[in-house]
Amino acid sequence: MSTPLLYALTGAVLWGIGLMGLIGLRHLLRKLLALNLIGSATFLILVGLAQHHNGPDPVPQALVLTGIVVSIAATALGVVLIRRYFHLTGRTELESEVPEAGRDEEGHSG
């Protein structure tokens, strides 16, 4: 087994952990961190699998750089939204503990 392949397999494990964190955790910042973990896992697989085949491959490396910038932008936007949400409501979670009066919750949540 080559080192890049090990990276790719690690990526598979990290995807599972990240997905569990994203669904299971309630704190919004933790959800965002879980998404970042998933992002890194994806990048590991992208680079690892390609380099296992080709040796050093600049194309996936460049793709990952682009992907990192995109994920930084998304994370930063998420953090700004979370901060403002916290400022307005004092809450750090999407679902409220007690159902709000007067709001029409749909029963299922994403």
Partner: protein
């Protein structure tokens, strides 16, 4: 906390995903290498204007990706500053008069700026480039803000907005100019390719630094907000 059944369900889901993904990665790794992309890249590298293959991919072969990636950054920055409706982005609580800290900064800030410049220049033939340099610029700004040095240009005014899009605008103009000159969108003319890439990278560095810093500084502390439709 969630019910135990839901948590076990999540665990199973995650384990299943990992197992299937791992299996798929393993199977794919057994295949013969299919790609001759790295070889094609080596063949065309000389024509790309930079020696470092990753920079060549980012700013020449797949420059459209990079253009859109900067657009994504600009969007995030816009959405960020649209939330910060305070007139000054300076946080008075962070202002410090610690002489030792100031003295340290006097050394650190120029060094960090120098490093940013180096990273930008290094991008041509080794790891480095606009994003890394921009991140370094932003880190300098974060340090300055956390120690209370004034950052006037970060007020949400026209100057900030120009700064945010400067690099993107140049990139876009180069794209248009190459199309008008008779070639396709974003195809740099051979003779100027090195200079163009360098000037795009330089302005991008400035813009990326400002974008990241603006996102850091965008402190959403204010009470203006839009009422929901029909609830005025």
């Amino acid at each position: 906390m969630r019910s135990p059944a839901a948590r076990i369900g999540m665990l199973l889901l995650a384990l299943m995903l990992t197992a299937l993904l791992g299996r798929s990665v393993w199977q794919l790794s057994m295949l013969e290498p299919a790609s001759d992309l790295p070889r094609q890249l080596q063949d065309k590298l000389a024509a790309s204007g930079v020696e470092h293959p990753v920079t060549a991919v980012l700013l020449n072969f797949r420059s459209y990706d990079t253009l859109l990636e900067i657009a994504v950054l600009v969007i995030a920055a816009m959405a960020g500053i649209s939330m910060a409706r305070t007139r000054s982005l300076e946080d008075p609580e962070l202002r410090t008069s610690d002489t030792l800290l100031r003295a340290l900064l006097r050394w650190l800030v120029p060094l960090m700026l120098l490093l940013a410049g180096y990273l930008l220049w290094a991008g041509a033939d080794r790891p480095g480039g606009a994003f890394q340099a921009g991140a370094m610029l932003a880190a300098t700004g974060v340090l300055m803000r956390l120690t209370g040095l004034p950052l006037d240009f970060l007020r949400p005014g026209i100057l900030l907005r120009i700064g945010l899009v400067l690099g993107f605008a140049l990139f876009l103009l180069v794209g248009l100019a190459s199309a008008i000159a008779g070639d396709v969108f974003l195809a740099y003319p051979r003779e100027f390719v090195k200079g163009l890439i360098l000037s795009i990278e330089t302005l991008l560095t400035l813009s990326i630094g400002m974008i990241l810093l603006a996102l850091f500084v965008a402190a959403p502390v204010n009470d203006a907000s839009e009422p929901e439709e029909g609830e005025k």
